[in-house]
């Protein structure tokens, strides 16, 4: 398939992410400036870290002077969900060649939600182009949003309290879309219930890890019943 056609398709698919990343990125940039961290770090973080919720957390950690150990552990807790993404993309990203390292690096929540749901192309070569363009477009939106926010935050003072809710809102919209796209809601409900129970039992510091373990165990226990429903 022609590269231009794939680009157009990829761009269309990423428009919701474009909007989300600009809003979230601006929120991050403003927050970063409000805490007195330099603009250059908005650029460095958006290029090399490229992780929405973690960058919000990073502002708090850095401005609070957290120790390197706390920094590493927090990242592990916040981003351990990416292990899950990798697991579900192993098959799709097989044989992606030279771009594979970038595809793996650039797999954020939103890019993941696009590539994992994509069944558009049959030829591997077309898929490779599509995944690469989607990943690179999303990355560029994020960098743009973060820089915009940092610039805005340098120029004007706004009360940003609550702006990080945009991340929650984005996840809720993806959740709603997945709910609509799949008749079988058991795995979605399991995710919510197990995580909520773990939050209550283990507390907000460490609950993600027991949640992930329990979700995996439960899903494996119901595999015989569930697997046929997913084709």
């Amino acid at each position: 398939m022609e590269k231009k056609a794939i680009f157009k398709q990829a761009f269309n698919d990423t428009i919701p992410v474009l909007a989300g990343y600009i809003v979230l990125g601006i929120g991050f940039g403003i927050l970063l400036r409000a805490k007195g961290i330099g603009i250059i770090y908005a650029l460095v973080m958006s290029i090399f870290m490229y992780a929405g919720s973690m960058q919000y957390a990073a502002v708090g950690l850095i401005s609070g002077g957290a120790s390197y150990l706390v920094v590493a552990m927090t990242t592990l807790m916040v981003n351990c969900r990416h292990l899950f993404y990798g697991i579900s993309m192993i098959e799709k990203y097989k044989g992606m060649g030279i771009v594979k390292p970038y595809l793996m690096f650039a797999m954020t929540d939103e890019t993941y939600s696009l590539v994992v749901n994509s069944t558009r192309y049959n030829k591997k070569e077309d898929r490779r182009k599509y995944y690469t363009i989607v990943s690179a477009l999303d990355h560029s939106y994020w960098i743009t949003g973060c820089m915009l926010g940092a610039l805005i935050g340098s120029l004007i003072k706004i009360n940003t309290e609550g702006i990080d809710f945009s991340l929650t809102a984005l996840f809720v919209t993806i959740f709603v879309e997945q709910w609509r796209s799949n008749k079988n809601h058991l795995s979605a409900i399991l995710g919510v219930v197990i995580t909520a129970v773990c939050l209550i039992v283990f507390g907000p510091e460490i609950f993600l890890i027991p949640s992930m373990i329990l979700i995996t165990v439960f899903l494996l226990l119901i595999r015989k019943k569930e697997e046929p429903k997913y084709g």
Binding site: P16, L61, I87, G162, S166, L170, V172, F207
Partner: protein
Amino acid sequence: MDNKYILISIAIMSGVTILLRVLPFVIFAGDRRTPGAIIYLGKVLPFSIMGMLVVYCLKSVDILGGTHGIPEVIAISIVALIQYWRKNTVLSVVIGTVTYMLLIQFVF
């Protein structure tokens, strides 16, 4: 603020993030067939993960004190309803976030 501290912190966070993103691919590398259980998890996990992430975002909500999570419940309901009716992510996120900011800054 100390630039060296900031840069090292960013390097650590980037490193851990990249490690988490790449690890599954390294473990199940090559032409070996991916185990059936992993392929199954790959199909069902995305739905569970999004549910997990929504709860994760609400981890610092104090139901027993403060605002009792009321602003969160209102804003999330608005986001979900708009998304369900209009299927427009941008609209849902922007209206939901502005509502939430207004609620916690002026109402609660």
